[in-house]
Each structure stands twice: as C-alpha cells, then as structure tokens.
C-alpha cells in the first residue's frame, strides 16, 4: 500500500511534468478514438450505402451464374416457378425485411442522335424503393409499377445525354433466345447510387418491361434485404441449408462477397490508420520516455537510497512502472472522456465532407464512439504509458548504488 502511495505521490510531486505526460497520453488516445470513430462511421456509411443502393444483404442466383453468367446471362436465370417458391420462403424469415427480384441486361440506349452502352436493371419499383433507400433521386419522379415504359436514368448518363424528364428514348438489347429487340422508354427521373462509375452507365426500368424486352419470365437474381446487417451470415447459412434440402440449384452471395470496392477502401484506410497509430505511438512514447528519464535523473539519490535500504532492482522498476501506470490510467480515462465529448461535438456540428473519390454524394462527418473503440484505445494509452516507462525503469534499476547515492 505504501509503495503504491509512494508512486502516486511521485506522480503528484512534479505537477507540470505529470501534466505534460498526461497531455501526451490524452493526445494519443483522443487522436486514435476520433480517427477510428470517423473511419468506423465511414465504413458503416459505405457498407450500408452499397447494401441499400445496389447489393442488398444477400443475393440469390441460379447455380453457375457467378462462374458463367457473364458470357451467357440468359442461360442462368431463375425461372418464374422457383422465384415464386423461394420468395415466399425467404419472406417468412423473421430477420428478413424484404425480397425483390432483379433482371439485369446490357443494352444500347439512344435518344436518336447519340447511343450509349448501358447496364439495365429491371426492378419491382415498390420493393426496390424500400431496398434502395441510399439511391437518391436527383431529378424527376420515382418509378412506379404503372409506369410500364418508365425509366430511372443514372445521373451521369442523364447528363451526358442532355436528357430532360419525360424524354423519349429507345433501349435495344439481346433477348433470351439470342435475337435483338428494342423498346421505347420514357425518362421519368435521374438517380444517383453514390458511385460515379455506376451512375454513368446505369438505368432502371420496370421488371415486366425488362422481361418483355428479353422474352423471359425469369430473373437474374433475388435480392434480400435484412433488418440487421449482422444477421447476414446466419441467414445465408439458413437459406443454403433450406435450398439444399429442397434440391434447388441456387447459389448465394453475401454483400461482403460482392462489395470489392468497399473492401479495397477499408483495407486502404486500415493501412492508413495503422501508420497513424504508429506515428501517434512514437510521439507519445518519446514524450513519456523523455519525462520519465528526467524523473529518473532527478531522483537518482533517492533510487540509491531505496537500493541501499534493501530495495531490489525489481522494486525500483515496479516503482517507476507503477507511476507510469497511474499516469496512463488517468491519461487514458481523461482521453476517452474528452474524445467522446469531441466526437459528439463534431458529429453534432454537421460538418460536410467533400465528395470522396469515385462517389457522387457528400456526407456529414460522423464520429462513432463504440464501447469497443473506446476501451481498446483507452487500453492502448495505458499500455503505451507502461511500455514507455520500461526503459527509464530499467535504467533506474541498473544504477550503481554508490554512484547513485553520490549523485547531486
């Protein structure tokens, strides 16, 4: 108890030095929490963005689609009977919010003077409106079931064709039997998925219209939206089991399997975060080592005395490490508290970030302060403080007693 008290009194002994050390620890903890919280919010925003604008949580295809579907998509469609059977089955699951079919095709969109290759998605407008909540309408009106020939045109595509709402266009595509057909369509509005690349080539039409164009009753995929993203794996496993038992030739992909861009961005930012962590670690570590070494130098005769009256090297090390532990604990707790307050302040201020590369939408800065992030970085601060004290503590413990006693 007395030894712990001595460590505490030593921390209080040089208030200014301890204050500087505490600032260094807090700086480290606050920077890492704010940065980690910002990245976490970005990851979540991106993840939910891709899920709710394009991917859904789970996509179901005819077996073989992912391997051969690119070359011959018309051969890997889910037929109408299976579609009906599994839709009801999936909708019955309590974790599922909705299931919607999509028919994908590539075609040529022309306004009479200019033609552009497009990626077309035939959708159920009502269900898709619920699933694609992250798809923003930038002009005109949404698509409805009764708009048989209506189309939502990707924002970039809409602009590159200089379209206006209500413009008449012609969409040409290869049918399921390999022939070629065309349909007139009307631009009811322009949409932004949040990804510029997609918006430059993408359009949506009514599923029935797309099926007519392709001469099919089938769909390319069923998109499942769950209530919670965290249930994805569990529902995937459940559906896989059910399809196998029923002998259905279907395959499933999760949003994570399909979101390559998301994973690339996460990996990139995780790498940046690791480098920042190292820089912060170095700054904090050097700051603490410096102040601890000064403390050791100042207290050299005291260290000699402790050793002379029976203190072991381990005892001296424990004393300095305890002091660092106390500083680390206080610094980390204060760091976490200030980081939470700052995070709330910054999030509440609603500061908008510029449009990120590849994206077509701005977004507000949000900083998440999950318990996991807080305790991990709080612990990080504490560990840095303790690790920083090891060198000074060893230095103190290795002092030659008689030289330490003579030191003035």
């Amino acid at each position: 108890m007395l030894r712990l008290k001595l460590a505490l009194l030593n921390v209080l002994r040089n208030g200014r030095r301890s204050f500087i050390t505490l600032l260094a620890i807090q700086f480290g903890v606050i920077s890492l929490i704010l940065m980690g919280g910002f990245f976490a919010s970005m990851y979540e925003g991106m993840r939910e963005g891709v899920i709710r604008s394009q991917l859904g949580h789970i996509q179901i295809y005819q077996k073989g689609f992912n391997q051969f579907g690119n070359q011959e998509p018309e051969k890997y469609l889910i037929d109408a009977e299976v579609l009906q059977q599994v839709t009801g089955q999936i909708e019955a699951l309590e974790q599922v919010e909705l299931v919607t079919p999509r028919l994908n095709l590539t075609g040529l969109l022309t306004d009479g003077s200019k033609s552009l290759a497009v990626v077309v998605e035939g959708i159920d407008p009502e269900k898709e409106a619920l699933l694609s909540s992250a798809v923003k309408l930038t002009a005109g009106e949404d698509l409805f079931e009764e708009d048989i020939d209506g189309a939502l045109i990707g924002d970039g595509l809409f602009k590159s064709l200089n379209l206006e709402v209500g413009a008449s266009l012609t969409l040409m595509a290869t049918t399921a039997d390999g022939s070629f057909d065309a349909r007139d369509i009307t631009a009811t509005g322009a949409i932004s998925t949040g990804t510029r690349e997609v918006d430059n080539r993408f359009m949506r039409i009514n599923l029935k219209h797309a099926q007519e164009l392709m001469y099919t009753q089938g769909v390319t995929r069923l998109v499942v939206l769950l209530k919670e993203t965290q249930d994805t794996d569990a529902v995937m496993a459940q559906l896989n089991r059910a399809f196998k038992e029923q002998g259905l030739a279907l395959e499933l992909r999760s949003w994570s399997d399909l979101a390559d861009y998301y994973h690339e961005v996460v990996n990139l930012f995780d790498g940046i975060f690791s480098i920042v962590q190292l820089i912060v670690l170095a700054i904090v570590l050097l700051g603490i080592v410096n102040t601890m070494v000064m403390a050791v130098m100042e207290r050299t005769p005291e260290i000699g005395t402790i050793r002379a009256i029976g203190g072991t090297r381990g005892e001296v090390m424990k004393l300095f490490i305890s002091e660092a532990f106390i500083l680390g604990l206080i610094g980390s707790v204060l760091g976490v508290v200030f980081a939470v307050l700052l995070a709330q302040g910054i999030t509440g201020a609603g500061i908008m970030m510029p449009t990120p590369p590849g994206s077509s939408q701005t977004y507000p800065i949000r900083i998440f302060t999950d318990a996991d992030l807080l305790w991990k970085n709080g612990l990080f601060g504490l560990l840095i403080a303790v690790i920083s004290s090891i060198y000074p503590a060893v230095k103190a413990s290795r002092m030659v007693i008689i030289q330490a006693l003579r030191f003035a």
């Binding site: 007395l2 030593n10 002994r13 005291e302 007693i401």
Partner: protein
C-alpha cells in the same frame, strides 16, 4: 559469530590514467554490539570500506562475510535482501524520501520486506518514539530540522532490527550541539539494542563515545584501539576490550 568479517580485502579505482588503491589487503572483524568509529583523512578509504561492508560494492580481491555469508556468492537480489535484513544505513545527507512523512519514511524499509501495513506502521511509530520524534510522525522532511531529519534516518535504520548500522559521516551536516545529541542517541541505542555501529567520521568528540576506534591510512588500518569506558555494551558476547 562475528557480525562482519573482512579477509584480505583490496579495492582500487581508476582515476584518470592512474589506479588509486583505496583498500589494500585489509582484514577486519566486527563483533555484535561494538560501537566502532572509523577515522581517517579524506580519501583514506572510509567510505569504500563502508560500501563494501554494506554490500553496495565488491572488492577486487578478498572476501566480505556478513553473518558468515560470503557476499561474493550472492546475487544482486540476495544482496538487497541481506541489506534489508541485516544492515541499516545512516547517510550524511539523511537521504529521506521527500514526498513521504517521517512515519512513512521509517515504514518504507518494512514495506520493502512485505511486512503488513498495520504492523509496519506500529513498528515505525515505535522507532520514531525511540529517537524522540513521537510528535513528528506526520511531518514531511522539509518540515523538519537537520537534526530531526537525521533522527528519522536513524529510526529508519533501526526499524528493521539490523545487526549492524553503517553511518557515513552522520554528523557532517549538523551543528556541533545537534551532532553531540545525535551521537548520544546512537550511543544509547547501541546500549539498548545491542546493534553494532560502524561510522566514519572526522569529529574528534565522537572518539570519547566509541568502544573501538579504527584509523585508516592509505588503504590500511593503522590503528585499532579498544576503549575501556564510556559506551561499552553490557552483555555483548564478542566485546574485545583491551
């Protein structure tokens, strides 16, 4: 058994390009209860001798035995434990820990021995009472006079019930009146507790209180005199009276 035994101890130091011999093949035995004064001019090897006996330095040749235990056979940790158990130190500059109170300073060596807090506190308070500081337990070193600080240091040296207390110029930083009081205190503690005292000093008034006087010169003991009066320890078995 002798408390301390030195056999053919030699110790020298590098000083620039030359090697200075501080102690040269020195033999010495200290028995329980002796009150030994170590005299000699500056550089005669007094502090070196105390450091060697205190297991804080190692000889170039020869062997130091504390309680029959050869120090050369001990690890650093074992030497620390030996200092904690058998040896008390009193320093010229008192060397109290400034952030601790008088009581805590005295309690600290017991805390290093892992003595339970309550017992350590009681023993520390008793030691402070022995040196006349019962009313000063809560004072910090900067609230005490030089004499009081040295009394706290004496209590700290005594509290572990050591076999020997080593004091390096314990009165050098004190005025003559306080020095005499401190020496009287050490003398009476020697009589009461039977603990062996070895202190280096250049104050002549100390001689009248010593039971044995050693004089060092050029690394040798040139004089080893037993006193017949004053601070003789009653019932001390190893007393060497001339």
């Amino acid at each position: 058994m002798a408390v301390v035994e030195l056999q053919a101890i030699s110790r020298s130091f590098e000083l620039g390009n030359t090697r200075v011999t501080a102690l040269d093949k020195l033999d010495l035995t200290l028995e329980k209860g002796e009150f030994v004064v170590l005299r000699g001019v500056s550089g005669s090897g007094k502090s070196t001798l105390l450091n060697l006996i205190g297991a804080m330095d190692a000889p170039d040749a020869g062997e130091v035995f504390i309680h029959g235990q050869a120090l050369s056979s001990l690890s650093d940790k074992q030497k620390s434990q030996l200092r904690s158990r058998y040896i008390g130190f009193i320093f010229q500059a008192f060397n109290l820990i400034p952030v601790l109170t008088a009581l805590e300073n005295v309690q600290y060596p017991l805390s290093l021995q892992k003595v339970p807090d309550r017992e350590a506190k009681a023993r520390a308070a008793k030691a402070l009472a022995q040196v006349g500081l019962a009313d000063f337990v809560d004072r910090r070193p900067n609230q005490l006079s030089g004499g009081q600080m040295q009394r706290v240091a004496i209590a700290r040296a005594l509290v572990t019930n050591p076999d020997i207390i080593l004091a390096d110029e314990p009165t050098a930083n004190l005025d003559s009146e306080t020095s005499k009081q401190i020496m009287d205190l050490l003398g009476s503690l020697n009589r009461e507790t039977g603990v062996t005292f070895l202190f280096a000093t250049h104050h002549d008034f100390v001689l009248s209180r010593a039971s044995r006087v050693l004089e060092l010169k050029d690394g040798h003991i040139v004089k080893d005199e037993q006193a017949h009066n004053l601070t003789l320890v009653e019932n001390s078995p190893g007393e060497k009276l001339g």
